[in-house]
């Protein structure tokens, strides 16, 4: 990747230990939630300390034996070959940060989606309506990790700190109560009657019961700088109340008031503009939205893609390990990805990198190419390709056969694209610089088209935080307009006659509906010969089929969404179309049109609609009149009206 690459998708920040220590703790908790094991509050604390007491080696072995576990998959799958290489490193890895993953992994055993190791969703798997549990859990632990994030480097250190924190927390009645409450909630989520009394009691004990600020107070607060802790606490309370609104809400305050307050707090706490905060907030259930915003503050792990044109993953891993890079395969869903934990050398300037053995690439940008699944000897178009991560991936999957057209509208960015194409040894790539919308005119008849559309970047806020403030409603309108134009061009560029292909993959690094589902739905309506098919990605959330009153085609559930807090990759969206011959749609039109008329008694009668065609005689006077007007406009003198001008007048 060239220096200019950062224009599009900068390589993710290195994921240092603190990020993947704290989430693991959370992962453990989450998993506990997931298994719905009843446990008291004290136990949850104990489970945090488990890593120290249990022996990593033993655990590791256990994990390796379990077939559906994360580790198990790793050992059995394509990654297995790595183990032999890394065999001598095993001890180091277990002692190092990887150790924690092993702990996490047993907790995640029943998590079906293969996730990145690293920050895990605290509540990702749990149904969103279990709000109070997840909520208290998440916000509290989020707070914890924020507070002691700075100095937490080693395992022992972390434990000491978290112990100290817990001791402090024990003193604070409020926190204690919350934890108690949380435990109670997790013990009996269904058991509402028991909890009611308990929570009411809690409310009484609470030194200062939560009260939603009135509109006037909010106005006042806007002028002054809000206190972070107040805002934090208010957010937590709002989420809790919104989770069980009927029971916990203040009398006379509406749900929307709480939501407004929460959105405003999120905007001020995380530094979003109000518009974007609200837009993103509505994508998720309340508690999950908080997680999403928190995940946007944490960098995603650094990942690289092996260039299969030059080397194999095993060899590359070996070479990099020798250079002092600590890495591991990303997951079972890709056999070319490696995740870099830490590196003593700059990962973007090793001799291997320069020789084109790998590409620095976010995990999420593997997905559209996997979905596209190009076959050798095909003609593929990448409509917006710079800096070339996906293009070179396509070329590698084609094994340098066929032709890849890599287009990018920005000429300056085609330089880094060309550099990457050459560095990675892709010999079948033609780089051109057109506006993507010109495409079926320049050339059509492609077997597959990848459209990684220009987007607002709401999925990559952790990389580029400027999105938080610089996106307005107008940007979204303009972008989705452009995306709609591009997707139609992409569909038109594909040859439906293609024997092996005829596929389009539409992807964005954004999570908003207007740039994703709305665009895909628009394309489906405009191009009846295109239909959605399975993406071939075995994880990810289904796309929305309806959202806040908008109804989309039901087939949109075949598209896939990816979220930072769930999958630990950038927010991403992938949709795959299959284009068929157009004649099919025409046949349907040729069928005799019948109008269904529902009679008053409820019976339905089908009447053939009367033929709607042109009646030349009836139209003649109008045509003549129009002709006269045209001539007059040109300054010519029209011939005298032949006859029956009155008829025209009357009808006009």
């Amino acid at each position: 990747m060239g220096r200019r690459a950062k224009n599009k998708q900068a390589p993710p920040e290195p994921l240092d230990k603190k990020e993947y220590t704290s989430p693991k703790k959370l992962g453990k908790r989450k998993a506990d939630d997931h298994q719905d094991k009843p446990r008291p509050a004290k136990k949850s604390k104990d489970s945090k300390y488990n890593p120290k007491s249990s022996k990593p080696h033993v655990k590791f072995a256990d994990d390796a034996n379990s077939s559906d576990g994360w580790e198990g998959v790793q050992d059995e799958g394509a990654i297995g070959d790595l183990d032999s290489l890394l065999g001598d490193e095993d001890d180091d890895m277990l002692r190092g940060p990887a150790q924690e993953f092993d702990f996490g992994s047993d907790a995640e055993e029943d998590e079906p989606a293969p996730l990145l190791r690293g920050r895990k969703s605290k509540q990702g798997g749990a149904p969103p309506n279990v709000v109070p549990t997840g909520l208290d859990d998440s916000s509290e632990s989020g707070e914890d990790s924020d507070e002691d994030e700075e100095g937490r480097t080693t395992m022992a250190n972390m434990e000491a700190r978290s112990r100290a924190l817990d001791a402090k927390a024990a003193e604070e009645a409020e926190l204690d109560i919350e934890e108690y409450q949380e435990a109670a909630a997790s013990e009996g989520e269904d058991d509402d009657v028991d909890m009611e009394g308990e929570e009411d009691a809690n409310g009484d004990i609470d030194a200062e019961p939560f009260r939603l600020p009135t509109a006037a107070e909010r106005e006042e607060e806007k002028t002054s700088v809000p206190d972070v802790h107040t805002v934090q606490r208010r957010m937590r309370e709002c989420v809790r109340i919104l989770g069980k609104f009927k029971r916990l809400a203040e009398e006379g305050r509406s749900r929307s008031e709480y939501i407004d307050q929460l959105v405003a707090d999120i905007a001020s706490y995380h530094g979003y503009n109000d518009f974007l905060a609200e837009k993103l907030f509505h994508l998720f259930p309340v508690a999950e939205a908080i997680e999403f915003f928190e995940a946007n503050e944490v960098p995603r792990p650094v990942t690289i893609r092996t260039n299969t044109l030059r080397t194999r993953r095993r060899d590359l891993a070996q070479a990099l390990v020798n250079r002092g890079v600590n890495l591991e395969p990303i997951g079972k869903w890709t056999n070319v990805g490696l995740q870099v934990f830490e590196s003593s050398v700059p990962i973007g300037a090793t001799p291997e990198y320069l020789a084109g053995h790998y590409m620095l690439q976010a995990a999420s940008s593997f997905l559209p190419v996997i979905a596209l699944a190009p076959q050798p000897n095909e003609r593929v178009l990448d409509m917006a390709s710079a800096p070339g991560g996906k293009t070179t991936h396509i070329a590698a999957l084609l094994q340098n056969t066929g032709v890849v057209f890599a287009n990018d509208a920005n000429k300056a960015r085609t330089k880094s694209l060309t550099a990457n194409v050459h560095r990675l040894g892709c010999k079948n790539v033609v780089v051109c610089s057109y506006d993507g919308r010109e495409f079926p005119k320049v050339m059509g008849g492609f077997d597959r088209v990848l459209l990684d559309a220009p987007c607002s970047g709401t999925g990559v806020i952790s990389k580029d935080a400027s999105v938080k403030i610089n996106k307005s409603e107008r940007d979204f309108t303009l972008l989705s307009h452009l995306q709609k134009q591009l997707i139609l061009c992409a569909i038109d560029s594909v040859s439906p006659e293609s024997k092996t292909g005829g596929y389009i993959v539409y992807s964005t690094c954004s999570v908003t509906i207007d740039e994703n589902e709305a665009v895909v739905d628009y394309a489906l309506r405009k191009r009846p010969n295109a239909k959605l098919v399975e993406t071939g990605l075995e994880f990810g959330r289904e796309g929305f089929t309806s959202f806040r009153g908008k109804k989309f085609a039901p087939s949109l559930s075949l598209t896939r969404r990816f979220y930072p807090h769930v999958h630990n990759m950038d927010g991403f969206y992938v949709a795959k179309f299959k284009v068929e011959r157009r004649s099919k749609a025409k046949k349907e039109e040729d069928e005799p049109v019948t109008v269904e008329i529902v009679a008053e008694d409820g019976t339905v009668e089908n009447k053939p609609q009367e033929d709607v065609g042109f009646d030349a005689d009836e139209d003649r006077p109008y045509l003549e009149e129009a002709k006269r007007r045209r001539m007059k406009a040109k300054g010519l003198r029209p011939p005298a009206r032949s006859k029956a001008p009155t008829a025209v007048k009357a009808s006009a």
Partner: protein, 180 residues
Amino acid sequence: MRPLTEDESRAVFEKLANYIGKNLIHLIDRPDGPYCFRLQKDRVYYVSEESMRLSISVARPNLVSLGTCFGKFSKSGKFKLHITALDYISKYAKYKVWIKPNGEMPFLYGNHVLKAHLGRITEDTPEHQGVVVYSMSDMPLGFGVTARATVDTRKLDPTSIIIFHQADVGEYLRDEETLF
């Protein structure tokens, strides 16, 4: 985009022959379909005929690159090989040089190869011969020209230059702006 003229072809082939000698014919006679050289905005591209035919539809100002860039013609009509040609040159190279791991980074920063960094060298390499530079793990890193014949290198002191640097893969980062 156009085919090379006779003079241009001669300049390109002479340069290539300096590194790959008679193996040049392997570039023209390929078992996997016909390949050709094309000139586009001073740059010479080596590209399969299939790709070339398709990229005819791309207008000249919009065509950035096709196939593999071999190098460029200077304004005075001289041909300069670029690092992007390394794939093909290293495949057919006649004379090779391997450098030790501690010499890799200096070379990738654009320095000449010193005798101290020399790991291995093809026997009986003549003086001023184009050679491809490899790391000890057989990874091509660039190419250059020998300063001395193999037999003469014995006598030299460790800090003297053995290979004059011409191109290295570090240019992908250093010269990204000017390379394409």
